[in-house]
């Protein structure tokens, strides 16, 4: 009996934040720098556990489980953590830092420097309520600070938004790859709800690609090659402009190549919901319920928040009668991008709950019925 059951399913029941840790370790992570904060604390706890268990193994003469994971540091603050990650990435190592909304605010200066230095740093933001200390309940209030760049200067962060624990595991591997591919900081953005939730996961079999960082990494100049200088300072305006135009070309390339989204029944839909993260799962159920009531509703879920699926939403605006954006914030942060993409071609409405209140299917369905009456 026991054996039969085990053979049937090899899914692991795991908490979102723990899945991120496991996936990062399997992606060949070299260093983690962080400072604990609810609802992201399981991440730093998980790395601490993995790191010290491996130290014990080494002491006993056993092979470490994650030989590539060489540095774990709980820093004195979020600011120190992001700058340690900058330093780690500058040496050509795969590094990660994680925090929740107020902690990410503190990291913004460092993130701007990392973008300027073009370093592949992976960042995790488990969103909670704000502004200020706010609360520890789930919100999607960090769209602006991540997608629009919360630090100074104009730059872009690749941002992935998972909606299940399975995707948390998969996208953790992805942000490392994307950061390395483009030498650009990449963010995994999800709400506290996903971080705390447990689901069955099959971990992706990842083999970290061997990115050649030898042309730029400051990894000790033993052979007397040309010096590698990693900096974001370009004193002469012409040099600065040249540097920024190079960044712009990179951003254009990312916008061309890396847009990801999920289209659920929106091709024939009269009303299309645009939602990401946990809200997109509630929205999916609403799509089914609305269709049972005879209203053709679909869902467009942006998976990359930057690059944003502008083209797809523009196409939807051509065909649908209305768009409804649903978010866990009061301002309609992503809705601004939906409005830009729809470009006035169809009405765009917004429904948001905030402070940690999760919208019920019923509420969203009522909003859909209301829109349906208007556009009929």
């Amino acid at each position: 009996m026991k054996k039969n059951l085990e053979n049937k399913i090899e899914k692991i029941l795991i908490k979102g934040n723990d899945a991120v840790v496991e996936a990062a370790l399997r992606s060949g992570l070299n260093g983690f720098f962080g400072y604990p904060i609810t609802p992201a604390s399981e991440i730093i706890e998980g790395f601490a556990k993995a790191y010290y268990e491996d130290l014990e193994r080494k002491k006993k003469g056993l092979k470490p489980k994650y030989p590539e994971f060489q540095v774990f540091l709980q820093m004195e603050s979020e600011i120190a953590s992001i700058n340690a990650a900058l330093g780690g990435a500058a040496t050509g190592k795969r590094v990660l830092t994680a925090s929740s909304s107020p902690g990410i605010s503190l990291k913004q200066e460092g993130i701007s420097y990392i973008a300027g230095c073009e370093l592949p740093v992976a960042i995790i933001d488990v969103m909670r309520g704000g502004p200020g200390l706010g609360n520890i309940a789930p919100e999607q209030g960090d769209y602006f600070q991540t997608v629009k760049g919360g630090g100074h200067g104009d730059y872009r962060l690749i941002t992935l938004a998972p909606n299940s624990v399975q995707e948390l595991a998969e996208f953790t591997c992805e942000i490392f790859e994307l950061a390395d591919k483009y030498r650009n900081p990449a963010v995994l953005l999800y709400d506290g709800y996903l971080g705390q939730m447990k689901e069955g996961v099959i971990f992706p079999k990842v083999k970290a690609k061997n990115y050649d960082r030898s042309s730029w990494a400051a990894d000790g100049n033993k052979k007397g090659r040309e010096k590698h200088i990693i900096t974001s300072i370009y004193i002469a305006p012409e040099d600065m402009e040249k540097h920024k135009l190079r960044l712009k070309r990179k951003y254009d390339l990312i916008e061309e190549k890396e847009v990801r989204f999920e289209n659920y029944k929106s091709d024939d839909a009269d009303i299309v919901i645009v939602a990401y993260g946990i809200v997109s799962r509630i929205a999916k159920d609403v799509v089914e319920k609305a269709r049972k009531e005879g209203i053709k509703v679909g869902l467009l879920r942006p998976i990359t928040l930057w690059p944003f699926p502008k083209k797809e939403i523009s196409q939807i605006a051509d065909n649908a009668k209305a768009i409804l954006t649903v978010e866990l914030n009061m301002l309609g942060q992503m809705n601004e991008d939906v409005l830009i993409s729809a470009n006035g071609k169809c009405p765009v409405e917004f429904y948001g709950r905030c402070g940690g209140v999760i919208p019920k299917e019923k509420e969203i369905l009522e909003k859909i019925l209301e829109i349906n009456r208007k556009v009929k």
Binding site: I9, I136, K198
Partner: protein, 178 residues
């Protein structure tokens, strides 16, 4: 088939673990599951609940607004969640702590004196849950879930937990006619 549960009680009554064991067992039996804890600064002594969904199909929203089944370990939980249970649903409550029998005509209500039966009251409730709903199998819990959840020095508590689960099953068989 999809079953939505809310399990609620004081922090420390094993509410989260009970939900975790139900979710883990259902997963091992090939179902899709979600488990969401209430997380807050008020762990010990305060109220605490978790929402579990076990489904043959993939799960959309993991949010449980209207549970099919409520397992309530104290009066505040009965007060807060009984009204949300779906019509025709089931409520199990710890009748050693909730003295007055809760009333609602359109759901089935089962009082289990779990805390009197054993000091691992959550396991007594688990037994009652298994017997009343048949949603998970006893052998999955015994063979897979308990060894997974009680390890790293906690193995010695497994027999005690199994005993409490069986007492929960016995109580249901003795006291409720089907």
């Amino acid at each position: 088939m999809s079953v939505k549960l809310i399990i609620s009680g004081f922090g420390g009554q094993g509410v989260l673990l009970l939900g975790d064991i139900i979710a883990y067992s259902a997963l091992k039996e090939g179902k899709n599951v979600t488990w969401v804890p209430s997380y807050g600064p008020e762990s010990r002594g305060g109220t605490c609940n978790c929402q579990v969904i076990c489904s043959e199909k993939s799960i959309g929203s993991p949010v449980v607004d209207e549970p099919d089944i409520l397992i309530a370990f104290n009066l505040p939980s009965v007060d807060k969640f009984m009204k949300t249970v779906k019509k025709g649903g089931i409520m199990l409550y710890d009748s050693s702590l909730v003295k007055e029998k809760p009333k609602r005509d359109d759901i089935k209500i089962y009082g289990i004196p779990a805390t009197e039966i054993s000091d691992v009251a959550n396991m007594v409730m688990l037994g009652a849950y298994i017997e009343l709903t048949k949603n998970i199998k006893l052998e999955t819990v015994v063979n897979l879930a308990l060894p997974e959840k009680l390890k790293g020095g906690k193995e010695k508590f497994i027999p005690k937990n199994i005993k409490a689960i069986k007492k929960g099953i016995e109580y249901v068989l003795k006291n409720f006619n089907f």
